[in-house]
């Protein structure tokens, strides 16, 4: 029972990471793509928006990893072995994104140097969510095989597939859309720049439809178990609700109801990840590693559950305070 509670916490952390940490990567994507007469103002808006929160947002990823290796050690070992290469690439992206962002902010050398950090920040922000999508997709392909606790499918299984790359592309589009939507609603964004991000959110939000379709098509061959899940009785219901949220987000953007658009976009991302998790359940790595066969002994899971509950009691008021101070209405 405790393994399901802990898995639930991990799923929640994944959603929080996606709607906060990955959205910060989305901000970096728009930083790289900043164009037009207001490119500088766009970059400033992005920096103001993610500056105070990106480090806290990033910790969700660490929390996911820590829960994974405490509660499901064999799953962690297998993932880090089979997906050694994409995770290593992801780490390079994480290090360069974070360092370049903070260096750009505090470096007072020259405009050229700042420009250099800017490009590095943007490129790393582009790359990192893509490779995260690829890695997450690889877990569903069924090509990573673990027999007697050993990965027997080598270091290239799963992630070098059309399905995994479609997932990477989808993650890229999703977080770009999410970031652009947030930026329209951020209290510190000026109205000209707000218009720029409104258009960007509309474009990227619309682009998600064909990419989602691509993921679905490639899953038939590339992730049969997932495809099977997505054709279950509950799937149309979930896809339908997700579509409603997606349309609501785009409509709110169109009608300039930005606060509403932000909520709808968060709902959309949450539902997409819920769908993925339901189609994946109870497998952590398709097909061999499941929540129950990878679970740590009960005592570990029980103590971890207590720690997560106490941690959440400390964490959520703090996070609420952080976001209220920086994302609430300007006083």
């Amino acid at each position: 029972m405790f393994e399901l509670i802990v898995a639930g916490f991990m799923f929640a952390a994944l959603i929080f990471y996606a709607v906060t940490g990955d959205a910060d990567y989305g901000g970096g994507i728009w930083d790289l793509l900043a164009t037009g007469p207001r490119a500088g103002a766009q970059r400033d808006a992005i920096e103001r928006a993610i500056g105070p929160i990106w480090e806290a947002d990033h910790v969700w990823l660490i929390l996911i990893v820590v829960i994974l290796f405490t509660a499901f050690p064999p799953a962690f070992a297998a993932m880090m072995t089979a997906l050694n290469i994409p995770f290593t690439l992801m780490l390079i992206g994480i290090v360069l994104r974070g360092s370049a962002f903070i260096f750009r902010k505090y470096d007072i050398k020259s405009q050229e140097v700042k420009q250099g950090w800017s490009v590095l920040f943007g490129a790393a922000s582009f790359f990192t969510p893509f490779i995260q999508g690829v890695a997450l997709g690889a877990l569903s392909t069924g090509q990573i095989r673990v027999i007697d606790g050993r990965v027997v499918s080598g270091f290239f299984a799963g992630w070098l597939t059309p399905f995994a790359f479609a997932c990477g592309l989808f993650a890229l589009g999703l977080f770009a859309f999410l970031a652009a939507t947030y930026l329209t609603a951020d209290p510190s964004t000026e109205s000209d720049v707000q218009n720029d991000f409104r258009l960007r959110a509309l474009y990227s939000g619309a682009a998600l439809v064909p990419i989602a379709f691509l993921v679905f098509i490639t899953s038939k061959q590339g992730a049969p178990a997932m495809y099977h899940g997505l054709t279950q009785w509950w799937a149309p219901l979930l896809v339908g609700t997700t579509l409603v949220f997606a349309i609501a987000a785009l409509a709110s953007l169109w009608l300039r109801r930005f606060a509403l658009a932000r909520i709808a976009a968060i709902g959309e991302v949450t539902l997409i990840l819920t769908g993925w998790s339901l189609a994946q359940y109870p497998r952590l790595i398709t097909p061999d590693i499941t929540i129950s066969n990878a679970a740590a002994p009960e005592i570990t899971l029980r103590l971890l559950t207590y720690a997560l509950v106490v941690g959440a009691i400390v964490l959520f008021p703090s996070l609420f305070f952080l976001f209220r101070v920086f994302k609430g209405k300007e006083s």
């Binding site: 105070p52 929160i53 480090e55 990033h58 910790v59 990823l61 660490i62 929390l63 990893v65 820590v66 290796f69 405490t70 509660a71 050690p73 064999p74 962690f76 070992a77 297998a78 993932m79 880090m80 072995t81 050694n84 290469i85 995770f87 290593t88 690439l89 992801m90 780490l91 390079i92 994480i94 290090v95 994104r97 974070g98 360092s99 962002f101 903070i102 260096f103 505090y106 470096d107 007072i108 050398k109 606790g149 050993r150 080598g154 270091f155 740590a296 002994p297 005592i299 570990t300 971890l304 720690a307 997560l308 941690g311 400390v314 703090s318 996070l319 305070f321 952080l322 101070v325 920086f326």
Partner: protein, 460 residues
């Protein structure tokens, strides 16, 4: 993409031809990542304490010099914390990327302190964001309290991580029956025998290293302009932190060494280059340990010194490396030399602390003599040298075990081949970041120093 091609090429080419090399590269990558991260982790523990003290003084006295100081230290903290956050993420993944079998075995036992560390780190990141960007948005006392929470959670996350490391040295909280791990007790694992002395030693080390490094920077500027109140106050605060912690480290170091003698006698024997178990064991300083002849040449030898230090009895017995099979020995030379380097730095800093304390007491103020300031500048890096050397002692001294006495490091290594590639990439990235950081921090000081010094002198 060339990277992936490189990987692919190597994968095809290598049919487990040089597994030993991969093992060495995996260890090098872990060691390099830790050596890089530990600097930022230590500053993340020490610098917030200074910020909080300085802001408290500002709130009490209202003098702008303390506000300026708080803001400047917090700017340094912002930059260094960000690098620490990302290099820490690298480590949490590398545990699995490089040592999957280790994590598979120990995750359930020792994941607990890592999870708690996750929350402590989360709190630190949240309140650091509030602290750095919230100057105008938060009432002064709330702002200060955010800083206090940053300092506390920084200390706490250090404690949790060191606890996990201590478990690798003195594993506890489980049983092995027929080669399988049973009876897991995560609490007992967390409270393992080495936890207390490692935590104490590392936390003090973070205060000392940060304190002396910060002191060195301000002593450097004070040397140029003795009337600068800004640097005088900064130096005073940094010295208070460093010079009160340093003498305590003497007690903590003694406690650590005697604990290691009990818990990991092979490590102690390597630290002291003691090949032969003997009564009245001498203390050897420096020299060249030689595993073949089991002697240490050219060492400064203090008869009965080691027995006296370890057991408080000059004629007591101390276990040497001869009690262990040679393939269970750590690298004696590196461990012994690193240990001596750490102690040397520590003794130098304690001596400096005493000198500073005496001068401060005599002159009723921050010491500003030319030679003592020059010494403080020169001693700036010693705290970090000691941390790096001490870390080498702990980790290399544990070898060849990843879980002392339970699992060998070689058994834990990833089956991934050509680890040289990520090792080289991360080394280059970290080198690049280090160089960029040095220039960046230098520019912060040089560009902002001149106007500040005038303003502050006028205001006070």
């Amino acid at each position: 993409m060339p990277l992936i091609a490189g990987y692919a090429h190597c994968y095809v080419e290598s049919n487990s031809d040089f597994p030993v090399n991969d093992f060495l590269f995996a260890r090098s990558q872990m060691g390099m990542s830790l050596a890089f991260h530990i600097v930022f982790a230590a500053i993340g523990i020490g610098l917030p304490v200074l910020m909080v003290i300085s802001e408290a003084l500002y709130l009490r006295t209202g003098r702008p010099v303390f506000l300026e100081l708080t803001k400047r230290w917090s700017r340094g903290a912002a930059i260094l914390f960000a690098v620490g956050a990302v290099s820490g993420t690298v480590l949490s993944f590398e545990l699995g990327l490089l040592w999957p079998a280790f994590m598979e075995k120990s995750g359930a036992i020792i994941g607990m302190p890592f999870s708690l560390e996750g929350f402590a780190f989360f709190t630190e990141a949240i309140f650091l964001g509030l602290y750095l960007m919230g100057w105008k948005r938060l009432p002064p006392l709330v702002h200060w309290f955010c800083g206090v929470l940053v300092a506390l959670s920084g200390i706490l996350s250090g404690i949790f991580v060191v606890t996990a490391n201590a478990w690798m040295n003195t594993p506890a909280g489980f049983k092995i029956v027929d080669g399988k791990i049973t009876d897991i007790d995560p609490i007992a694992a967390m409270l393992n025998p080495a936890a207390a002395h490692e935590v104490l030693h590392m936390t003090l080390a973070a205060f000392i290293a940060t304190g002396f490094a910060v002191a060195a920077i301000h002593a450097f500027f004070l040397l140029r302009d003795r009337r600068n109140v800004f640097h005088r106050n900064a130096l005073g605060m940094a010295l208070v932190l460093a010079c009160t912690s340093a003498p305590l480290q003497l007690i903590s170091g003694d406690f650590s060494a005697r604990s290691v003698a009990k818990l990991q006698p092979a490590k102690l024997a390597a630290m002291e280059a003691l090949y032969r178990t003997q009564t009245g064991a001498p203390l050897r300083i420096g020299g060249i340990p030689d595993d073949q002849s089991r002697t240490t040449r050219f060492a400064l030898t203090i008869p009965h010194g080691l027995s006296l230090l370890v057991n408080r009895d000059p004629n007591s017995k101390v276990i040497g490396l001869d009690q262990f099979r040679p393939n269970d020995w750590p690298n004696v030379r590196l461990v012994h030399w690193s240990f001596d380097l750490m102690v040397l730095c520590g003794v130098a800093l304690i001596a400096l602390s005493v000198a500073v304390g005496w001068r401060a007491w005599k002159h009723r103020g921050v010491p500003d003599g030319k030679w003592i300031l020059r010494t403080i500048v020169a001693a700036g890096p010693l705290g970090f040298v000691a941390i790096e050397a001490g870390w080498v002692v702990t980790e290399l001294g544990r070898q060849p075990w990843i879980i002392y006495g339970v699992m060998r490091t070689q058994e834990a290594v990833t089956p991934m081949q050509r680890i040289a590639i990520p090792f080289v990439i991360f080394t280059l990235i970290y080198l690049f970041l280090s160089v960029a950081l040095v220039f960046l921090l230098r520019r912060q000081f040089i560009k902002t120093d001149a106007p500040f010094s005038e303003v502050v002198t006028k205001n006070v």
